[in-house]
Structures are given as structure tokens and as C-alpha cells.
């Protein structure tokens, strides 16, 4: 199975390649990708150098251009696709129908993957993207069980890629506008779920407080375990109950499910975390490479101990094996 690993910077890309990534995904330093954070991402020349580094070591590079173009500003997304092809990218990861059509028509030789942001979660949707735009691989949303993934794979003729570690989006990806209500911005249009300019951390008495758009979404004892300041994992009072209304502050860790995912016909395993450092990338990639190598050799995969690196320092198998509230 192919291991698809994140890189937010050229240093992280090199760390991922050196740690054994089969494939690295990254994005340009603008709103064309869904990890548009300050100080992160690649210039055109950095991407070309990164592709050279990866290819020289047998790894591939995928470029995420997976936000939805703004009317009147399509040229930013079109030039991103053209520049990814010029840099030698092995594929682009797209979500928008118009951008998929543009890429299929203008860059027919550039391999197209469907981003998780397209939220294609059933065979009809996936087959449409495959037939209309010759999409070769679909990144499945993190809302499906292992059995549902197996059923989908039986009815489609394209590769599937599933998330196995990292931040856990629990919404219909590419459709979630939750953060727009608090900040006016969203991951789909602006590439950021919790725009950092709207995030405010403060100390109040003995508590650390996190606010998004002025709304307090977390209050933890100072020095205690802290999550990302996202609304879907915020701690709220609803009626007479206080807790995580949407989802607990945990990360996905499906490492134990990899053998079952392999049997469903999944082609690639994806690790989330382009916003993380090169230290995180190297540790996670090395751990999951041991899992894929063990599977390829017919051995039992090693047990991983990755909770320390996770949001909330706790892990879940997400929807792969989940009973919803």
C-alpha cells in the first residue's frame, strides 16, 4: 500500500522522503489549498526543488489545489494547476468541478486525484468524477466505516485513499461552513478552518482560554492538555449539559485497522498534518512505513504508540469503527 504523507515546508518534505514516504502531498502558499497558514507551504521554485528531491529517491509528489475557486479569481487556481505540472508533480488533488473540468481539458496528461474536500462518499458520486474528468484516485471522507469502504470499492474502478492518522474532520468535508459563522472564513473558500488571525489564547486566573472569533471554545487548566481551537471540537454548554457537542478533542489513529483497510481494496493510506513540523512528519511517517512494510512482507504490523503526538493526546478510530451519538 502507498503511504501518502504531508509536507507544509520543504524541510518537512525532505523529512518525509527520508523517513520512507512513498508519496508526499503539499500545496502552494496561497488560498488554493486547504492548509493556508502563515509561514507554511511552497513557492513555485521550492516545489520544483522538492519534486526533484523526492523523485531522486523514488517518491512521488502530489499538489493539493483543493479549495473552491472564487468567482472572478479563477486564474489563481488555473495557474496553480499549470505550475504544478511544470514543476513535475505526479498528480494534483482537486475538489472543484470547474477546476476539474479545466484541468482535464487543458492538462490532460496531469493525473487527477479527487480531494476529500469533494466529499464523494458513494459509488455514484465517485463514478461520475471518474467518467467526467478521468479522476484516477478518490480520497474518501472520514465519515465511512470499513464495511462501507469495502462496498464502495466493489462498485468503482478508481483507486481509493483513506486517512489513517491525524486531525479528524467529522463534518461533510468541503461542505462545512461552521467556522464561517464565527470568523467569516471557511476551509472551503479560504483554506483555513480556524483562521489564526481569529484565534486568541489568553490566561484567565488559573485557566488557559482559547477563543475563535471572540467566542470562547475551550477552557482548560493552565498547563493541561489542549486541543486545536476548532468549533467542531469545542466544549460548549447545551441545555443542562457541558461537553464536546460535536466531537471530542481527539485525533484519528487507524493504524490497527490497516490490515482490514488493505482487504477492502484501498490503494493508499493518508496521513494528515501539513500544518505540523518536520519532527512530527518524520516520526509518523517512519511509524506507518513500518506498518506498510510489515503488510507487504506478510508480517503482523507493529503496534504504534502515537497518542502523545495527537490533538488532545488521545486517539480514536473515527467512523471506521464508530457508533455515532
Amino acid at each position: 500500500m502507498e503511504l501518502v504523507c504531508p509536507a507544509g515546508t520543504p524541510a518537512a518534505l525532505r523529512a518525509a522522503v527520508d523517513a520512507g514516504a512513498h508519496c508526499i502531498y503539499c500545496g502552494f502558499a496561497d488560498e488554493t489549498n486547504a492548509r493556508n497558514f502563515p509561514g507554511l507551504n511552497f513557492s513555485r521554485s521550492e516545489l520544483a526543488e522538492g519534486v526533484g528531491y523526492a523523485h531522486a529517491r523514488g517518491a512521488k509528489v502530489l499538489v493539493a489545489i483543493n479549495t473552491f475557486p472564487t468567482a472572478g479569481k479563477e486564474s489563481l487556481w488555473h495557474s496553480a494547476v499549470a505550475d504544478a505540472e511544470t514543476a513535475g508533480a505526479d498528480a494534483v488533488i482537486l475538489a472543484d468541478l470547474g477546476l476539474l473540468a479545466h484541468t482535464a481539458q487543458r492538462h490532460p496528461d496531469l493525473r487527477r486525484h479527487l480531494s476529500v474536500q469533494a466529499a464523494a462518499a458513494n459509488p455514484d458520486a465517485i463514478n461520475f468524477y471518474a467518467q467526467a474528468f478521468d479522476v484516477r484516485r478518490v480520497v474518501l471522507p472520514r465519515v465511512l466505516s470499513v464495511e462501507e469502504i469495502a462496498a464502495i470499492n466493489r462498485e468503482i474502478d478508481v483507486e481509493t485513499e483513506v486517512f489513517v492518522f491525524g486531525g479528524l474532520c467529522v463534518m461533510a468535508e468541503g461542505r462545512c461552513s461552521l467556522s464561517s459563522y464565527a470568523t467569516g472564513r471557511s476551509p472551503n473558500m479560504n483554506g483555513v478552518c480556524s483562521p489564526p488571525e481569529h484565534v486568541d489564547y489568553a490566561t484567565e486566573g488559573s485557566d488557559s482560554v482559547a477563543r475563535l472569533g471572540g467566542f470562547t471554545i475551550h477552557r482548560t487548566p493552565k498547563g493541561g492538555v489542549a486541543p486545536y481551537p476548532t468549533l467542531c471540537k469545542g466544549c460548549f454548554t447545551s441545555g443542562d449539559k457541558t461537553g464536546h457537542v460535536f466531537e471530542d478533542a481527539v485525533s484519528l489513529d487507524a493504524s490497527k485497522l490497516v490490515p482490514r483497510l488493505a482487504k477492502t481494496g484501498v490503494t493508499a493510506l493518508k496521513i494528515e498534518g501539513r500544518q505540523r513540523s518536520r519532527a512530527y512528519v518524520a516520526q509518523i511517517v517512519r511509524a506507518f512505513r513500518a506498518v506498510t512494510d510489515a503488510l507487504a512482507d506478510g508480517r503482523d504490523p507493529p503496534a504504534l504508540a502515537l497518542a502523545r503526538l495527537s490533538e488532545g493526546q488521545a486517539a480514536t478510530t473515527g467512523a471506521y469503527a464508530k457508533t455515532w451519538r
Binding site: D200, S277, R278, A279, S310
Partner: protein, 180 residues
């Protein structure tokens, strides 16, 4: 099981004399280090981008002073805790946590999740600085030797044994710990 790096602190035996240490020579040495570092790694300022004119307070909680970084002017100055001018953003954590993050041995978000690192103020500026420094793959010993050549030989001889003795990440991590 080893102590989490965020909990490792400098023994008071070493920090006590720093309470009476005059800070102006520390500021001169640190600013020289910052100038050299930003000159030899121009990509840092490019990644910090529009936050170059921001001021960052680096509160190394087991030292008796705080550092204030002004990237645009390549200044890194020491102030007694509580006496530093206001900054746009504040990052607080132990010396061990800062070193581990700078040297690529620990992930900044992981330190934040565990409470070993706290941030306040302009979150965008903090992210820009963190990402710029992570991409630069710095080795603090090499940077100090470059800025202050008279320290090169003693650093070369002492860093590796000190690292083994203290458990601090005193050199750049080219390999990461096994997690399985």
C-alpha cells in the same frame, strides 16, 4: 519511561547566578546571533513575511529573564521578567521545550497539546515564526559558532557530552525517536 521534554528544567544551581548577571552583554551577544542567523538564512524572513515587524516575547520559563525578538531589526534582547516592553505575541515554555522544537526533535503542536508550550497574542505571527524556524533546520551550536567564532572550539567539544548528560536537544535532530 523518559521524562517528557517539556517537564525538563534547568537546575536552579545554574540559573541562580543569572539573577545578578547584567543583561546588556547578553542582549549584545544574542542580537549578534540573530543578525548572523537571519543573514545566513534569508528564507526565515521571507516566511515570516508580513509579521517581520511584530515583536515576539520568548518566555523561557526556567530562566530568570525573557527574550524579545524583533525580526525586522534582527534584535534579540533580554529583559527581566515583567520589565520587557509589550510584544505582539508571547510564547512560553521551558528551555528544553524551546531547544527541542528549534532542533526538530519535538513538534510545536505536540508541545502545545501537552501544555508544555503556551502562546498568547497574535496567533498568526506565532505560526509564521514557528513554521519559518522549522523550515530553516537550524543547529543553534553552529549558529553561535558562526556569530561568535571564539566559542566554536569549546562548543564543538562540549555539546555532545552535555547533550548526553542533560537530555536536552542541544544539536539538530537528524534522526527522530522510535515510536514503535
Amino acid at each position: 519511561m523518559p521524562e517528557p521534554i517539556g517537564n525538563v528544567t534547568i537546575p536552579r544551581l545554574f540559573t541562580a547566578p543569572m539573577h545578578i548577571l547584567p543583561l546588556w552583554p547578553v542582549s549584545i551577544a544574542l542580537s549578534r546571533l540573530a543578525r548572523n542567523l537571519l543573514r545566513t538564512h534569508p528564507e526565515i524572513l521571507r516566511r515570516i513575511d508580513k509579521y517581520q515587524n511584530h515583536h515576539f516575547e520568548l518566555d523561557i520559563t526556567d530562566l530568570p529573564f525573557v527574550l524579545r525578538l524583533d525580526p525586522a531589526r534582527a534584535q534579540l534582547r533580554a529583559f527581566r521578567r515583567g520589565a520587557a516592553p509589550a510584544s505582539d505575541a508571547r510564547i512560553a515554555g521551558s528551555f528544553a521545550a524551546f531547544l527541542a522544537m528549534l532542533h526538530g526533535a519535538e513538534d510545536g503542536d505536540t508541545l502545545y497539546f501537552s501544555g508544555a508550550l503556551q502562546i498568547e497574542g497574535d496567533t498568526s505571527a506565532v505560526l509564521a515564526l514557528r513554521n519559518a524556524l522549522d523550515d530553516a533546520e537550524l543547529d543553534l551550536g553552529a549558529e553561535i559558532a558562526n556569530a561568535l567564532p571564539f566559542l566554536a572550539a569549546p562548543l564543538r567539544q562540549s555539546l555532545a557530552p552535555l547533550e548526553r548528560l542533560t537530555g536536552l536537544h542541544l544539536t539538530r535532530a537528524d534522526t527522530t525517536p522510535e515510536v514503535y
